[in-house]
């Protein structure tokens, strides 16, 4: 299983190689993490510093200083079977996308080596990832993941409409993530590149093989949650009363933003305290799936991107191969790079005003009355991001923002409850709610 540290690393690549893969979500820091990393490191980075077991391959993105050091610690102390570094650029646009496409290709090749080693074969060759067989698989998985993302995006639209609780939605998204990492994958026919077993084949007919498991879970869950809900109904996986009360009437609406949410329990706390969570701007939420990867023609070498201040077109210099693959017109690595770097920006990115614009759009479309910003303790990106968003979104939109710093397990602490309750009272006072 491949465990990835960041939403900018495409799961499509290991999945296309037949390796289960998921985004790392922890419930607590590793028991002895401070033997490997300093105490003033963010809990997410520290959580990586643990024994992952010999079945686990870890892919660390260069998200921040702390994750880069976590990468060192994992390798140096032998905490995982293999550790890969995925050098995610901090900008988008032609040069960054071309560079990242090359990085993703290298990542695929490294994993292909691992797969061959596992089988006792010789090392992988470039043909393993550049040949039409793999590239067809990859495109099929991209289509499948697009379906999955579409389902998950729909789920959070229901959250914005007040039809299901954010806690339930994020719970479903995490279950899908787990499914990607743990469910047995379909076997690929080595000759045709098509799924070999019946279940996978059915998925293939719908556009990709692993969607059979994941999409079904999401759509089924979403339907059940959003079903015929009167006031106070729905929610909680069909088990009864929604945590949020099902609809936002009479409640102050808030959006949740931040870097990594660490644990979804915070959303539950906000809803239990009496706030309606209308959006979740986190890499555990829609930032990971509010985008689609192009899977047909039209994605070639991109031009300079106006979204960046220094958006030069450095494609040629980046030395990435043509976007054309044998028998097709799409370079799937480039398509992945283009889509992932262009997705709703996380605080680590330098994409001009895109992040603030995205948050403003969420704020307006969801009609929230305040923003709760969650910063994992010692997360530098979050600290800088909060100050910028407070000025460029909070103040400009006239919205109060609450900064909550936390670690694993802190969501339900008395301190958090007190602060969230006070924030609710303040919002209700502003709204004239009794």
């Amino acid at each position: 299983m491949v465990l990835v540290s960041c939403s900018y690393v495409p799961l499509e690549i290991p999945l296309a190689l037949g390796i289960p893969a998921k985004r790392a979500v922890f419930r607590e820091p590793g028991a002895s993490c401070e033997a490997y990393l300093p105490r003033d490191f963010c809990p997410y980075a520290k959580a990586f510093a643990r024994e992952h077991g010999q079945d686990c391959v870890v892919a660390i993105a260069g998200s921040c200083d702390a994750m880069r050091r976590a990468y060192d610690a994992l390798r140096y102390f032998g905490l995982a079977r293999e550790v890969h570094f995925v050098d995610v650029p901090r900008s988008c646009g032609g040069g960054a996308e071309a560079y990242y496409a090359g990085v993703l290709r290298d990542f695929a090749l490294e994993l292909a080596h691992a797969v061959r080693r596992e089988r006792g074969d010789a090392g992988a060759s470039a043909h393993d990832v550049d040949g039409p067989l793999f590239q067809r698989r990859l495109v099929a998985v991209m289509q499948s993941m697009n379906s999955l993302r579409q389902g998950l995006s729909r789920l959070f639209e229901l959250v914005a409409e007040g039809r299901i609780s954010a806690m339930d939605a994020i719970g479903t998204a995490l279950r899908v993530n787990d499914a990607l990492g743990t469910r047995p994958r379909g076997n690929w026919d080595s000759a045709s590149g098509a799924p070999a077993d019946a279940g996978a084949a059915r998925g293939s007919e719908r556009g990709g093989f692993m969607s059979t498991a994941g999409t079904a879970v999401v759509l089924e869950g979403a339907m059940r949650l959003a079903g015929p809900c009167g006031p106070g109904a729905g929610g909680s996986g069909g088990s009864g009363q929604s945590r949020s009360g099902g609809r936002p009437g009479g409640r102050a609406r808030v959006g949740v933003s931040g870097t990594c949410l660490l644990e979804p329990a915070l959303l539950g706390v906000l809803e239990e305290v009496g706030l309606a969570v209308a959006f979740v701007d986190s890499c555990l939420g829609p930032r990971s799936f509010d985008f689609r990867v192009p899977t047909d023609e039209g994605v070639g070498q991109a031009e300079g991107d106006p979204r960046t201040d220094a958006g030069a077109d450095e494609n040629a210099a980046a030395g990435v191969n043509s976007s054309v693959i044998p028998g097709g017109s799409l370079d799937p690595f480039y398509a992945l790079a283009h889509a992932y770097l262009g997705k709703p920006a996380c605080p680590r990115m330098f994409v001009g005003d895109m992040r603030a614009q995205h948050l403003r759009k969420l704020v307006r479309s969801c009609g929230v009355h305040g923003i709760v910003y969650f910063a994992p303790k010692f997360c530098d990106h979050a600290y800088y991001d909060f100050a910028e968003l407070k000025r460029h979104v909070g103040e400009s939109e006239g919205l109060p923002m609450l900064l909550l710093e936390g670690e694993y397990g802190s969501a339900r602490s008395g301190q958090t409850l007190t602060r969230v309750t006070a924030f609710r009272e303040m919002l209700e006072g502003r709204l004239g709610l009794g």
């Binding site: 003033d40 200083d65 702390a66 990468y71 060192d72 570094f85 040069g95 330098f350 010692f378 530098d380």
Partner: protein, 446 residues
Amino acid sequence: MMHFGIPSRFWQMVGQAAGGAARQTATRGARWTVVRPEVLLRWKLAYKVASAALPLLEARGAKAYQVAAIRCVLSDFADAYLGRKPCIFTSAFVPTELVYGLGGVPFLPEAAAGLAAAFGLAARSLFACEALWYSPDLCSFHRAGLGGAASGLLPRPSAVIVTSHLCDGGKRSLLHISRLAGCPFYMLDVPYIPSDRATRWLASQIEHVAGDLARRVPGLSLEGLAQALHRSNEALAEYERVSALRRNVPAPWRGSEALNYVLLFLWSWGSPSLAPFYRALRLHLERTIATGDFPVRDERHRLLWLNLRPYYDTRVFKHLEGDRASSVAFEEYSFAYWPSLDPRDPFASLAEKMMSNFGWGPIERRLEALERLVDDYSVDGVVQFAQWGCRQSNGGAAIIARELRKKGIPFLNLDGDGVDARCGTEAQAITRLGAFIELLDARRGW
């Protein structure tokens, strides 16, 4: 004022010459009264007086290299604060040859934060930063830089260039500064793993930034780029001689002072003033070795110092160098890790310089550099100043400790804060350093 000792005396003289404008308290730090520093720094007369006072300073016993360093800083500050050249703010590892070569003057807020701490101005900047909702858990070098910009202490930038090198705080704090100033912001995205593809991409980014700056900022052009690279090479050649002389046992230069000059090491590559400074320093070291007038007499131990140091007044180094007769033989941040630049191919050459930073990339690169420094400088022990909030450096402590232990070199991770005196832990630092030196003594059987 122990740190930035000569510059401090120099600025005192400037203040006195300006009509008693500045007064330094007899205790810790400095208190500026009457003329606020942000006014003094923009006062043309202050620079004239200062320039005129330089020979006087030498006559009063300042060393030639110290005067050369002041001249270097003074020239850049005058260019930046008086608007004589376009001022380009950069983070610490942007190759400053690019800025000098374009005809601008670089300004490094995080390096200036060290100066601010030495002059007792950091607290004000830190408060200004915290008032903007920035967390005190962020590195104080960046907070002070940001707060200094917000409170008007820094000059006005014409543009900002950052790199994604090493440290997250530098680029984000400078993004804020560019927004405050409403000036162009450029980020050089430095690939983590060296490869031809990576170098080409970085070179193309540098070329784009240079071209765009030349188009957008009046007064900048690409004409001087090759010359700046020549100057940088000239300074590097002198600096390598300085580094070689510092291998001498006992150490010919006080490490606590060398740590102050990291400012120039980060700031001045490509400046016409850097080679003269290193030349003067080389001559000083040669003289010291020839005469045997070493700063730490009866040197007992030689240390390698990682990361920076507290720049506010502290007794830590007095204790180390005086009471414990232990030298900081060399500093990690004084290590010139890059090869000579090729003025015929400036962008690729600068890209290679950036990519060769040993602090960037997998930790093996840093380990290799440290191992080399330990050997080259006959080091007995390694101290890492664990700057609060510096994830990139502190994050390697466990691995560095283990690797050094394999070589039989003790390692001390010394918590502290280089700029925020409120978080200073002087007594604790002295205790821990004392214990570390005792450990080194015991290993020698003393």
